[in-house]
Symmetry: C2
Subunit: 694 residues, 2 copies
């Protein structure tokens, strides 16, 4: 048994400072363990008592007979490090430290926490906390918490919940209980001195009794760890649903590039997890809605939604929401419609949403048969059944849903508005997903569809992902990289750039322009002028020799005026590139996730509408295609206003190549902006680039 | 007492076909009236009985002694017209017709409904239904329904609910009851043969006991009526919250202009109601959340949100959502922060969200004082207090919120996650708004702020609105209007257009170009070619005489090739206009709302992103400004990428002028598209226009 296993499923538990007052923190834990029937041995430790209730109490951990897997520590903060050392000496494998007064209180607390964590590590102990509510393993009645949530029933279920916040986590767990949703695990990681969100969730998902992971994240430290966890979850086929707070504001860091300015923590987080199949919830109820369906439904094979209702309006509302979320509400096949007409008297419309009307109350088989027929339509991959109230018909309806479920090969969700509590409970006991509103039901159906697609995609792309060969590059020193040096690195990584010639004189510039072909662009080249346009160091569309000569002189003069001390390497000559669509592709070194790659359309799309997609680097071309598909402005790539579509293959290749450069540069990368990248019907070219190493 | 008053608050009720079986449709109504204590006289009418229970039963309406205000009709459909005539003869003022088998069943049913409605009108009866669940006036115990909703308690409250759907309406009413939200009225208008949503809601809002209107709309027929109702509601200061289904699909009508293509029913509905302060809910829970706060909170004087929580994460989640919705979460003043530090031990951060931590359980005054201090901050206009569970502290907390409310001069919302039912009930009884999730609480706070702003704005703009003088125009016959004739009409309405000269020959075109100044544009002019570009009938940026001559010939040739039978009036010469931003302004004749005006930025904004705003015409320039503020791309008007802001005053004037033309054209208008309109730093010009009358 390793430390994490001892933490989650200990064979014996010691409670340091156990109290005979069962309303106090350490008294409560004892009360819960006894009341809920923990089967392992319990050792209260407190020199004040000989016994607590029928349990013998020990003066210290050393006096405890037999091995202890887990210790509960609720001592004053200052006593914690020594207590952990004592636990280590006694061979205890894990500790939950409830005590506060650590890193959350300031510098002295941080030092004390470091000491406690060091003590635990030296002693070979895994530590949950400090400053946490502890954990519940409901399967094995391990109630290692003093939180008020444990006051109520804690039935086990296939959902593992890990929360960084005690208060919000308790609220979410209480909401889950109100839904009769059993949490197999409830873990509050608190200050995460040792065991963090990622480690706790990984241990939870490793339990075969768990089908879904639900997480509440306030501050993520280990981005790559989270993505590794996500890959593990995908491998296991266990969806991971998270709520993360902190969307805005925090990410507004000063940066030299668009990529940097847009790499607000939340943009990056969203993109990074999307590439690894983590499902993000907007809020607590949305999370539980999705957990409900993941715990009870199989994964749909496509995005077709079949809707059966008792109200035309509810059907329209759901169809609208489905369309907003990119689901299809397909017209049912002629055969399906014919079958429905046999079942629903007076059925006339093309169906889907199918309105069975209130008549099913008189004739319950109507509902069962309609749902079966709709689910059997080849265009339907997931079903929603909407109904309301029906207090007088709970038993009949439960039976109908049981019958539907028994024969169903596709997932379906019951949406029962203002349902009697007995109905909700009975359905959940039978493993039938039930939600309480039309929009939440469609949102949850979309989550099923999207997760299924993300997982299919992730599996299909696995080979290509493994085959990615990060290039070995010879990187120059820190700071902005000269244009031609940067170009060479990009080209070596497979990124196509516009040709560029560095010229020291007007004559050389004219010769270069003649060779490259008019019209050309001239740009200042200086390690001290990263923003060439700002320095008026760029002239575009120069059509002839005279223009080139004049531009050469003007650019040098402007650069000298802009920054008199700047080292001027010369002037770069480039042919004017053409393309139908202007994009920006960039890299950024995110403090949580490491190097991330970004793409967006240029101009107002990126500057005003912030319409960009991020991923952790590197990405395959297929994954790059998914980034493009996330852009709100993606229609432009397919061609609008009479323009042809851009060369998508070249574009996704370039995004992938940029990401490979990013992966190769790794910690050395500060930022890279290719802006603009011009995409045409054939080929994609980076026209300007700014590379900064560190 | 008029017919609507008799419908909603009758002094006596006759039940045609009353049944002694109290489980049947007409038996149930009788049961409800008796059980809930209706104070007026009840007259069962059925030749089969002498009496039902203790009530005398009459063989026909003619036999009923004394006046009858309202009759309940649940006869077979075919008998309804005659029954209504009989009711009319007896002086009955209103009828609720439960019977189905009317317009909802097809052509024969439609004819029967027309007959029934005509019978009611001839007899001076107002009619609710047919095919409806009827209504409840909970204040006066008028339970004129057979719906299952009446099986439970129907306590009165300040919310009037009118629903077009029986099933969905019942679900919503049941959800309201679960919140202990009293519905003063529940009215299901069914087929709306006579009394429709607008009329019913207006009667409900006219009751001084009602503070908020809540509506569920599936199919709106009378757009102007709804806006008139909205104005009445604004005048009374009673917010009107609606859920409308049918967002997508239905509105996709074929139309010649962008405006037409974008005038999907939902875009128009959204814009029209926004101009009149109607609050639209996304779904049933969102509606009830907003109704909850409107019923219990005063209106905030600004958009500053103060947040007090028991969890840092909840605070961040709410602050993020507030930012998304355009609310401010202001840094509290130094004085406020100083005060808070006295109250919250260890308080360090700048505050807002203020985290009082779990310590308030030990020291309840902490919560009360913190909320009071935050609400007193000058930057805070509405408060949210977040907490969770606390089953053991309900009484203490209720008292605290009572004390806060007693002294509060600003609205606040309690957000209590997983609250004990007793707490919810107690708070609602005390008129304290309480919601059950962080995001819903912020959404509801935003609704308060937005409604307050809309109402302030509506009041401030009243004078300007009244002063709008719709011009009198001499409109040509139906069909596309020739460019110069359309230009004249636009100019007369105050819409600035680019100068344009119609030329019959190349020489004339050259002369016109010389006069207007190069470069110029040439465009084909033909009543048979509304889409000039499609016919290759437009040439832009012609810089000299040669170019103009060549273009003239090419355009005529293209037009003849495009449509050989087209009547060609000549070629229009226009100077090339300049502007920093391209917009589209248009008009459309909406089947529900009449003439509506639209604005959006040109190009991909309108074609790909569908980023447009609609209003019912006419609008004042101030209202036009609010349309611009609704555009997602509005930042572009303020100047991006180094461009100066456009002339907003000229732009809003033009939108208003276009809307005035629309109001003047009225039913004659088919559509108008000004595309593009070029807006610069000084002035705004319509460069091309397509006007179609009918």
């Amino acid at each position: 048994m390793n430390g994490l296993q001892a933490l989650l499923n200990p064979g014996s538990i010691a409670i340091l400072g156990a109290s005979a007052d069962l309303t106090k923190v350490n008294g409560r834990t004892l009360k819960y363990l006894l009341a809920k029937g923990y089967a392992g041995r319990i050792f209260p430790v407190n020199p004040k008592y000989q016994a607590i209730g029928e349990l013998q109490c020990y003066p210290g951990i050393a006096a405890v007979p037999g091995p202890v897997d887990l210790a509960i520590v609720a001592l004053p903060a200052a006593l914690v490090p020594d207590a952990l050392r004592d636990l280590g000496k006694h061979g205890v494998k894990a500790a939950v430290v409830f005590s506060s007064g650590f890193a959350e209180t300031g510098a002295a607390g941080r030092a004390l926490e470091r000491e406690a964590v060091a003590a635990a590590r030296e002693s070979g102990l895994r530590l949950c906390g400090p400053n946490c509510l502890g954990l519940i393993n409901a399967f094995d009645k391990v109630i290692a918490t003093f939180g008020q949530f444990a006051d109520g029933e804690t039935p086990a279920g296939p959902v593992g919940f890990v929360t960084q916040s005690g208060a919000f986590g308790t609220a979410i767990a209480a909401l889950a209980r109100r839904r009769s949703m059993g949490l197999g695990y409830f873990i509050n990681t608190g200050n995460e001195g040792d065991v963090d969100f990622v480690q706790a969730m990984r241990a939870v998902l490793g339990d075969p009794r768990i089908k879904v992971g639900a997480g509440y994240i306030e501050g993520l430290k280990d981005g790559p760890g989270l993505l590794g966890l996500a890959d593990f979850a995908l491998e296991q086929g266990k969806p991971l649903v998270v709520t993360k707070v902190g969307k805005t504001g925090a990410g507004a860091r000063a940066a030299a590039s668009h990529t940097g300015a847009l790499a607000g923590a939340d943009h990056v987080f969203d993109g990074a997890i999307r590439g690894h199949g983590i499902v993000r919830a907007r809020n607590e109820e949305h999370m539980l809605d999705m957990v409900e369906v993941f715990a009870n439904c199989g994964l749909p094979g496509g995005c077709g939604l079949g809707i059966v209702t008792q109200s035309g309006g509810a059907g329209v509302l759901m169809a609208d929401r489905a369309e907003e979320l990119g689901l299809k509400v397909p017209v049912l096949s002629a055969a399906t419609q014919e079958e429905l007409k046999q079942v629903i008297p007076g059925f006339g419309a093309a169906g889907n949403p199918v309105d069975v009307t209130g008549q099913f109350v008189a004739e319950p088989a109507l509902l069962r048969d309609s749902v079966r027929i709709v689910l059997s339509d080849p265009g339907v991959h997931v079903g929603i059944v909407w109904l309301q109230l029906m207090d007088a018909y709970v038993d009949v309806l439960i039976k109908i849903f049981e019958e539907i479920q028994a024969g169903a090969t596709k997932p379906f969700i019951v949406c029962w508005v203002a349902a009697p509590d007995a109905a909700l409970k009975a359905l959940r006991e039978r493993g039938i997903a039930v939600l309480r509103g039309a929009e939440p039901a469609v949102d949850a159906a979309a989550a099923l569809v999207n997760y299924a697609e993300a997982r299919r995609y992730w599996l299909a792309d696995r080979e290509a992902r493994t085959a990615l060969q990060v290039p070995r590059l010879d990187l120059p020193q820190a700071g902005p990289v000269a244009s031609l040096a940067a170009q060479k690195l990009l080209n070596e990584s497979g990124v196509a750039t516009a040709r560029a010639v560095l010229t020291p004189t007007g004559d050389a510039a004219v010769a270069a322009a003649r060779k490259l072909g008019y019209p050309v662009a001239l740009k200042i080249e200086s390690p001290d002028i990263p923003h060439k346009t700002e320095a008026q160091g760029v002239r575009l569309g120069l059509a002839n020799e005279t223009a080139v000569r004049a531009a050469f002189i003007a650019i040098l003069n402007n650069a000298r005026r802009y920054r008199p001390e700047a080292r001027l390497d010369g002037v770069i000559v480039q042919p004017m590139a053409r393309g139908d669509v202007e994009l920006v592709i960039g890299l950024q070194n995110d403090p949580v996730f490491g190097v991330v790659v970004m793409v967006g359309l240029g101009g107002i799309h990126i500057e005003v509408l912030k319409d960009v997609a991020f991923r952790k680097a590197p990405v395959t071309p297929a994954e790059a295609g998914r980034m493009l598909d996330e852009l709100r402005s993606r229609a432009i790539l397919a061609g609008v206003r009479g323009k042809p579509p851009v060369d998508r293959e070249a574009l996704t290749q370039m995004i992938s190549a940029v990401s490979m450069f990013g992966a190769a540069a790794g910690a050395r990368l500060n930022e890279l902006d290719l802006n603009p990248v011009l995409a045409g019907t054939e080929g994609v070219t980076a026209v300007d680039w700014l590379m900064v190493l560190r």
